[in-house]
């Protein structure tokens, strides 16, 4: 229950212990699937954190960065740094956007005497959400029930740039009845690659076709991952193939939303 004046609730119990964290929702989550942000907030609050949503947030600039457009990327980066740096912790439900802010911003401003230090400071305080819950908070989510089999795709940026692999699997242990089956070649790219799948659609299709074959071969009911772009790519292909596999972001299942419609599903 929150007082009407918008003041934070009394410090809750839990590893988060009233820790204030800002949520950077990311463009895709904002537009395509807000329940990922809501689930992330649920989990952070259950851990005792006080979650703030800075309204001025926009895009981390990854599309410009990946297109080679350094100037536009810097403009977006400066905006985001200014919006996020007042907070002691920033949490992001996406490995790729976290990596952009934590690593690419630092490289972008390496020679900038003003923005370099600010980028480096923010880099040390920004976390992907699953990693934050496990590595920083040591949090065990309250148990929820979802009797189903699921398979996990390790998104490339989360895996290789942030070392996220064990954390989601550990968190998912708190989901009663959920059986995780390993995805063959889980660490092979799904073919999303940001604008890659738009610029080189035929190649991207060949890659995601192999990925969905691997997913279907597991016989799992559910596909999970930590990056919405990749999940949209795989879910979109699965649906086009007529598959009944349901796709969610990991935080949705952890927050008890695993029985709601998955990506691209009707109510």
């Amino acid at each position: 229950m929150r007082p009407d004046d918008g003041a934070p609730a009394a410090a809750a119990e839990g590893p988060g212990e009233g820790l204030e964290v800002a949520l950077f929702v990311t463009c895709l989550v904002n537009v395509m699937r807000p329940q990922i942000a809501e689930s992330a907030i649920d989990l952070l609050e259950a851990a005792g954190c006080h979650v703030v949503v800075p309204l001025e947030q926009t895009c981390c600039g990854q599309p410009a960065l990946n297109a080679g457009d350094a100037e536009d990327a810097k403009a977006m980066a400066r905006h985001q740094i200014a919006v996020l740096e007042p907070f002691a912790h920033v949490v992001v439900p996406s490995g790729s956007c976290t990596a952009t802010i934590a690593h690419d911003y630092v490289a972008l401003f390496a020679d900038d005497p003003v923005w370099g230090p600010r980028a480096r400071a923010l880099a040390s305080r920004i976390h992907e959400v699953l990693s934050f819950l496990v590595d920083v908070l040591g949090f065990t989510p309250p148990p929820v029930r979802l009797p189903a089999t699921a398979t996990y795709h390790d998104t490339c940026s989360g895996l290789r740039e942030l070392g996220i692999r064990a954390q989601p699997r550990q968190l998912l242990k708190s989901v009663e009845g959920l059986e995780l089956v390993p995805l063959p070649d889980a660490d092979v790219c799904c073919g999303f690659g940001g604008t890659f799948c738009i610029k080189y659609p035929a190649i991207a299709d060949a890659v995601v076709t192999e990925k969905t074959a691997a997913i279907r071969s597991t016989g799992a009911d559910i596909l999970l991952g930590g990056d919405l772009g990749c999940l949209m790519n795989m879910a979109g292909k699965l649906k086009r193939q007529g598959s009944t596999v349901r796709t969610y972001h990991t935080v949705e299942v952890l927050a008890g939303r695993g029985a709601l419609p998955g990506l691209g599903e009707e109510r």
Binding site: V25, G68, D69, R160, V207, G236
Partner: protein, 485 residues
Amino acid sequence: MAQASEIVPGFDRRTAEALANRQLKIAIDRTAGTARAKRAAIVGEWPDFAVARAHGKAIKDHVVAHLGHYLAEFERNAVASGAVVHFARTADEAATIVVGICEAAGAKRVTRSKSMLGEEIGLPHALEAAGIERTETDLAEHIVQLAGERPSHIIWPAMHKTREEIHELFKAGHAAPDLGETPVEMAASARRILREKFHAADVGISGANFLIADSGSVAVVTNEGNAELTTTLPPVHIVTAGIEKLVPSAGHALQMLRLLVRSATGAAMTQYTTFHTGPKRAGDADGPREFHIVLVDNGRTRMLAEEGGLRDMLRCIRCGACMNHCPVFNQIGGHAYGGTYPGPMGAVLTPALDGLSMQTRDLAHACTLNGRCREVCPVDIPLPTLLRGWRTKSWREGLEPVTMRSGLSLWRSLATHPLAYRLGVAAASLALRLMAGRSRRIRRLPLVGGAWTRHRDMPAPSGSTFLNSAAARARAPGRGKGEIR
């Protein structure tokens, strides 16, 4: 006149052809898939492989940082051992030197063991233009020569060919209409045909895996032993090597070899690893009378100048692990890249060697930046960073499409004006929801979105945007998630 690696225009056309080729995919899966599995197995047996890898990187960084010192030391020691050392600034210059040595020796026939540098400098074409018969002796290069094609992989040049295709080539090329179809029979036929060529060659041309500075030696590795036959039988041995192949000593080379062989083929050691130091000596039982080493720049000093950028690419020891693990290479194969070198290392090198242009810019963009290449690189080259570097250069040189430039310009305006951003993306969200209707999925998007929906559905947004709902709550506090600030 020699022609340096010719870039074949039309990346899209080449990838379309490759993607339509089912046999190519089967061939790629067999070769690259086996390579991945074997590499994983042997690296898995070495718990501290990461230490060896970091050390290999340190050795190469040390050499690159002192390239002039080592090049001079190599030259001194090679000359002292009786080798003739030549320098070539460009691909054409290198090919001209090689042809010149052949002509001075009166050579009519040469044998070659595999050398990607030889491909890079256009040696096959140069020898042909000079009327010198060239026989490729590496089995895969022999296959590729019979097919009139270029290599499609730096370790398995003929990986794009199925057994049936090779059978047809050998039946014709070996004049053996009754040739059996098994790999054993085909290889035996090649052994027979090529054995004559080995003995008849006037000149043998090889590459170099390592140039050993403190002895002036050249290290060449093969599994077939064809390099020894190529370089020992004829009276003249010519080595073509990029200047980045230097290492301080054989001890350093042996440490690099442990990384190279595991990364390339998943074995602990190549079958033949030969260090050549000068020509035949008085009293030697065999060996070439003349030993020439052609040291080639061809853009490497330009890469050297880019500290923190392309200089890192000079660490490359040509193992091929990056392409074996690349999801794009595994779909399109090597020829689609259009240059001498394919895969991630090729995407970095091709614009460096052949210039950044409309033809070469695609290579850096046709990449998901997934980073697996960097993970398996035995010398930790930041390939995704270097590929992004080419994208940045390409942008600065105005090679990127106008639609992309104006699109990103617009996006930047929105992303630096929060209210406009929220309204703009909310409008997009509404449009997508209307397009999806009740089905929650969009099967066809207009304009650039069509590239997505050609192959997959687009899930509809699940409701109004998160930030719009948040903004509404900020204006009228009530139930909702998080504090809006």
